[in-house]
């Protein structure tokens, strides 16, 4: 929809499946998302993760609100394919299978050619020579052992190598019909000709909420989180998850690939929300120990503004 990035919503979670979209989101809009795609055969490892990228509710809401993206109700974007669409898809699948079999069959031919080489005249002659040398050495060693009085050594005669019929080598066999093939399921749905997201695309948060596919923000806590996120983003920061440092967000002066964060932000949902002094001690100490300042970000739900308090250990006491 007019070049807006499609955010595919499933189960009220926001996913981005296209790597070009992901690129735009990060380079143009300063939002990073989180890759959550595992490898099917190694789903327990999380060192290498791939598509899709999952956007946090704040990131997705911000992109749609600023009109950079739209929500796509992915589950409802797959109508039945028409007969011709299905036939074309089926033909393409068959082509791909044939192609795989041809390639794998050719690889089989190569393996057979190598096997052929092993029984060529040259190879046989060389093998004979090697075997003869080995047996001569073994005989000499046995003679030495006999002279030293080794009772184990017997008097074995060298085993004659059966003469191989060095006839004309047989012609290479034709490539065997390889019956195995892989079924490929493409990642982006846009590759399927009947995928039609237009009928279930929502360009505003309200529309998506009304359609029941999106919730955020739904209460004061959500509004406070979103308000703080948006305010920090509008000031030019990159934002990441704060759980590693005991906060809600990590605030970076630039792309997280290039910078360490300077701040760890905690959202305080109102000016009168109760804060224990112990929280200030804990956040302040952790922040200072990790060379960050802890930010208490206070949301004012009436004025829709954010106030900031920076917390650091005093350095004395």
């Amino acid at each position: 929809m007019n070049g807006r990035i499609p955010i595919r919503v499933a189960n009220k979670r926001a996913y981005v499946w296209d790597v070009d979209d992901l690129n735009r989101i990060r380079s143009d809009h300063r939002l990073c998302g989180l890759l959550v795609g595992t490898l099917p055969h190694l789903s327990q490892q999380n060192v290498f993760l791939g598509l899709p990228s999952q956007l946090t509710p704040e990131e997705a809401t911000l992109l749609v609100e600023k009109e950079y993206a739209v929500f796509v109700d992915d589950a409802n974007a797959y109508p039945e394919p028409s007969l011709s669409q299905f036939q074309q898809w089926s033909a393409e699948q068959k082509e791909y299978i044939k192609h795989q079999q041809a390639v794998l069959g050719a690889e089989n031919t190569k393996a057979q050619e190598l096997a052929q080489l092993a029984v060529s005249e040259e190879a046989i002659r060389k093998r004979k020579e090697r075997e003869l040398k080995r047996q001569q050495k073994a005989m000499e060693l046995r003679k030495l052992q006999e002279m030293e009085g080794d009772p184990v050594a017997g008097s074995e005669l060298p085993v004659p190598i059966p003469a191989v019929n060095a006839g004309p080598s047989t012609s290479p066999t034709s490539p065997s019909a390889h019956t195995q093939y892989n079924v490929c399921i493409t990642t982006p749905s846009s590759a399927l000709s009947w995928y039609s997201p237009d009928s279930c695309t929502y360009s505003t948060i309200e529309a998506a909420q009304e359609a029941g596919i999106w919730d955020f923000p739904s209460n004061l806590q959500d509004r406070a989180r979103y308000g703080v996120f948006k305010d920090l983003w509008e000031q030019g920061y990159f934002l990441g998850g704060g759980i590693r440092f005991g906060g809600d967000y990590l605030v970076y002066p630039g792309d997280p690939l290039r910078y360490h964060s300077h701040f760890c932000a905690t959202v305080i949902e109102s000016q009168t929300h109760s804060i224990q002094p112990m929280e200030i001690v804990a956040h302040g100490r952790l922040g200072t120990a990790t060379k960050k300042t802890h930010l208490f970000c206070g949301w004012d739900d009436e004025r829709k503004t954010v106030s900031y308090l920076s917390i650091e250990w005093a350095g004395f006491g």
């Binding site: 000031q235 000016q271 929300h273 001690v281 300042t293 920076s310 650091e312 250990w313 005093a314």
Partner: protein
């Protein structure tokens, strides 16, 4: 708090005005004056916040030794809020930062620097 303690005269008026907070005020005052060895130490009445505060300068050997700094004591057992903190800033005529002294029952004190706005870490 012992009225016979040598620090008492400096604290008397504020301590009597706000008896709930005199414990943390007393501990902080003594720590700042005698242990941290600050100079020009004075007790201030924050009427708006219904408690006392302390102002002074760090020892001559410290960084920013000439700055007049403000400390507001509170107890670990209290609950505060952002509005409470903003009241303290306003009552002190909005300095760039204030120090919160958190006093616990065993007389441990920890000091944290609170600055308004987004202030980059000093390290």
């Amino acid at each position: 708090m012992l009225e016979i303690h040598p620090s008492y005269p400096a604290l008397a008026s504020v301590a009597e005005k706000y008896p709930t907070h005199r414990g943390s005020l007393f501990q902080t005052y003594n720590d700042i004056l005698l242990a941290q060895q600050w100079r020009d130490v004075q007790v201030i009445d924050l009427a708006r916040c219904k408690r006392g505060a302390i102002q002074g300068r760090r020892p001559r050997t410290a960084a920013d030794a000439d700055l007049l700094l403000h400390i507001v004591p509170c107890s670990l057992a209290e609950s505060i809020s952002l509005a409470w903190i903003q009241d303290v800033f306003a009552a002190l005529a909005n300095p760039p930062s204030i120090y919160l002294a958190v006093v616990s029952d065993d007389s441990s004190i920890v000091y944290y620097k609170l600055s308004s706005g987004i202030v980059k870490p000093s390290i």
